[in-house]
């Protein structure tokens, strides 16, 4: 039993955090909202140079050969800065799916994914819309129980605007004549695995988003004075933030456990992921609710940065399986005859 991250994993998290916090400032995020694609090829290049685009690509295809446990801490940091580039989808969902699809498709695209020359994006039918399809060099699309591997020109996109100006969502229309790369039971298994990975990515980012909202709120309430004192010294304000800290603290281990289960392709991965996403997105939603409250009217403005993180948290809670879907996963598991519950059942 070793429920810890290695020194290397923690050091890598530190260096990625340092890079992201320096580079992905709220000013840069705002500037990106007004561009055509909302995405920044120079930034993607920087992520590639740090090894992040190839992190999960096997070494024989030019990557670092790491897994979901290695990536989960980095996904938290992506959440902390509300990274708009599709790194989490690419590295945590698309690259493992390409490996599972195998064959020439994988042999061709994995090296390009590793170097960052290609952005590979997964879109599930359950998600309604495809995130970042407009910048996908390869779109792995699940539809009607089949998987398609599409390059630009083989599909068209219609943009549906999100409340989060950092998100880019599309209705995808596939050109006639596309042939599926996976069908039947194989396709269903890939769908389930991809959903787990996508939901894990949301959960990890939600942890980072919640932490960012706490940090912004702590900073704001230390500066803002009323009745001659920083409002952060009032218990009513403190307790709002303490409540968030409690929920966030107990959402972390479930996310890390889910990463382990996903990396191991364990039978319990879906349940672990459902727990992780429910706990983490609930923490992030509470962080949003209490943070806007302690920001007062400033929190309701476009100008103050809080909304950047709040809106992303709201969006992630309802994609890659909304709360109802994941609760149903939990319910199916715990209300089953012979379900392994209670003391001593957690790690079996």
């Amino acid at each position: 039993m070793d429920f810890t991250f290695s020194e290397d994993q923690l050091l890598f998290q530190d260096s990625v955090r340092g890079f992201l916090v320096n580079e992905i400032t709220p000013e840069r995020l705002r500037a990106g909202w007004d561009t055509d694609t909302g995405r920044d090829p120079a930034l993607w290049q920087q992520l590639a140079e740090m090894g992040l685009t190839g992190l999960t690509v096997p070494e024989e295809h030019g990557g670092l050969g790491m897994d979901a446990v290695d990536f989960v801490l980095l996904a938290q940091e992506c959440g902390y800065v509300a990274l708009p580039e599709p790194l989490v989808n690419h590295a945590l969902v698309a690259v493992p799916l390409l490996q599972d699809l195998g064959g020439e498709l994988a042999a061709h695209w994995l090296p390009l994914a590793a170097s960052g020359e290609a952005r590979v994006i997964v879109a599930l039918e359950q998600n309604l819309l495809a995130e970042d399809a407009h910048v996908a060099d390869l779109l792995l699309l699940e539809r009607g129980g089949e998987w398609f591997a599409l390059t630009q020109g083989q599909f068209s996109c219609e943009h549906s605007e999100s409340v989060d100006p950092g998100r880019r969502l599309f209705t995808v229309t596939v050109q006639a004549g596309a042939t599926p790369v996976a069908t039947g039971a194989a396709a269903a298994a890939l769908r389930a695995a991809s959903l787990n990975r996508g939901a894990l990515g949301c959960a990890a980012q939600a942890l980072g988003l919640a932490q960012r909202m706490i940090d912004l709120s702590v900073q704001y309430t230390a500066e803002r004075k009323q009745f001659g004192k920083p409002i952060g010294s009032f218990q009513a304000v403190k307790h709002h933030m303490a409540n968030v800290a409690v929920r966030l603290e107990y959402a972390k281990a479930p996310v890390h456990r889910a990463a382990f289960e996903v990396a191991e392709n364990a039978a319990g991965a879906s349940l672990a992921v459902a727990q992780a996403k429910l706990m983490a997105c609930e923490a992030a939603n509470l962080a949003a609710k209490n943070s806007i409250q302690v920001h007062g009217a400033m929190g309701y403005t476009w100008e103050v940065d809080l909304h950047i993180f709040m809106k992303k948290a709201w969006a992630l809670a309802n994609t890659w399986g909304d709360a109802g879907w994941h609760k149903q996963q939990v319910a199916t598991a715990i209300f089953a005859d012979g379900a392994a519950l209670g003391a001593g059942a957690t790690f079996q």
Binding site: F3, Q235, M241, K252, V330, G342, A343
Partner: protein, 387 residues
């Protein structure tokens, strides 16, 4: 990261499982808030100690097994799975014991620890006073050093299991001119000393689960002082650390409640499912109990690799106490009209111990530092918000 138990850990689990199957009482003991039940629980502590299962984290020389925190969690899982009796001496073995090992002299360890482990000495805690609850530094009971004796005067209250306990560990003001947390001293007091009056206080269930204690010129030998004169605050704080908290409220307890709640829901699904909130609450109970377990294992692993516990440990008390309250509230909702019935009431068939648990869960957010105090600590020490 490797989330599986080692063979050694599995063997340890098997060993305690088999021992409990052979030795744990077949019928539940009477509650230790009665004289008879208290005696039964004291005897059970002796049985546990005889099997070297009394306090597995203690060193072997003291009748323990030198277990690490992971093995402690495994022990607790098996203990709660087996529905073995609650620990009547938990204030002693979980709180004072480790503090004695840290601050006690060799003479004190030899004098107090074996008797504590065997259940011969059951301990009560004497911290709260009528004027010192959340504000513990407002303690006013005094201990005046005269020669080699402390002369104690004052009053302690809300002292759990003090009605039949043998000893009390408490904090007393030894420097009359001192204020707040300075000038306090940690003293161990035999409850049969002349000048002590223990007045039982009935709890919500009508049983005398705690007591107030009056000290009228009570003489205690100076050798009963733990740590230095005036250094009581630091000693007392050590009894409130993470590992002690883990001893007191390990995840197994709440996971078993969550498991029983799932069972209760399934048994009563026809009526319980009429309120959609109940199903949601059962799912949440499972999620939170699991999360508490996962988080505890993660922290225990980090500590056993030399990591340091931080201010985030103060989230623990709020999380488990609210979880416990929520789970029992849900059980009450499922039981509906039967929920209010006492377990022995003729019409109460099948309500089990939920009502007792519900009553007890009301105390969780209050004792060991109210949740409001915990929230202040989290905001100020963990988040760095201004005082």
């Amino acid at each position: 990261m490797q989330l599986a138990f080692t063979e050694q850990q599995q063997a340890f689990r098997q060993e305690i499982r088999e021992w409990l199957a052979a030795n744990a009482p077949a019928e539940p003991l009477k509650t230790f808030d009665t004289e008879e039940g208290f005696q039964q629980h004291r005897e059970w502590e002796a049985v546990l100690n005889h099997g070297r299962w009394g306090m597995v984290t203690w060193p072997e020389a003291l009748g323990g097994r030198g277990c690490d925190l992971i093995e402690w969690l495994i022990f607790e899982e098996e203990y709660y799975r087996a529905r073995a009796p609650l620990r009547v001496n938990q204030n002693g073995i979980f709180l004072l014991g480790p503090t004695l090992m840290e601050y006690g002299t060799e003479e004190q360890k030899a004098r107090f620890l074996p008797a504590m482990a065997e259940g011969r000495d059951v301990w009560a805690q004497g911290w709260s006073e009528p004027g010192a609850g959340s504000d513990m530094a407002a303690i006013r009971s005094t201990a005046h050093l005269q020669g080699d004796k402390y002369i104690i005067n004052g009053q302690k209250t809300w002292s759990t299991r003090a009605v039949w306990a043998d000893w009390l560990f408490g904090m007393f003001r030894t420097d009359p001119g001192s204020e707040r947390h300075r000038g306090l001293t940690f003293i161990l007091v035999p409850l049969n000393t002349p000048g002590i009056t223990v007045r039982p206080i009935p709890q919500l269930d009508g049983l005398p689960g705690f007591a107030e204690i009056f000290f009228d010129n009570v003489e205690v030998d100076v050798s009963n002082r733990l740590g230095d004169d005036g250094a009581g605050w630091a000693v007392a704080m050590a009894t409130a650390g993470f590992e002690r908290g883990l001893m007191l409220r390990s995840p197994a307890r709440f996971q078993e409640t969550a498991r029983r709640l799932v069972e209760l829901y399934r048994e009563n699904e026809a009526t319980a499912s009429q309120d959609p909130h109940i199903r949601e609450a059962v799912i949440r109970a499972y999620l939170d109990a699991e999360s508490y377990c996962l988080s505890t294992y993660q922290t225990a692993c980090r500590l056993s690799q030399g990591g340091k516990i931080g201010a985030e440990s103060s989230t623990n008390k709020i999380f488990w106490s609210e979880l416990d309250q929520n789970m029992h509230a849900t059980a009450m909702s499922i039981l509906g009209a039967r929920a209010e019935l006492l377990p022995h009431a003729p019409a109460a068939k099948g309500v089990g111990s939920w009502l007792d648990g519900w009553l007890f869960s009301q105390s969780g957010p209050i004792y060991a530092g109210t949740n409001e105090i915990q929230r202040n600590i989290i905001a100020e020490r963990m988040l760095g918000m201004p005082r």
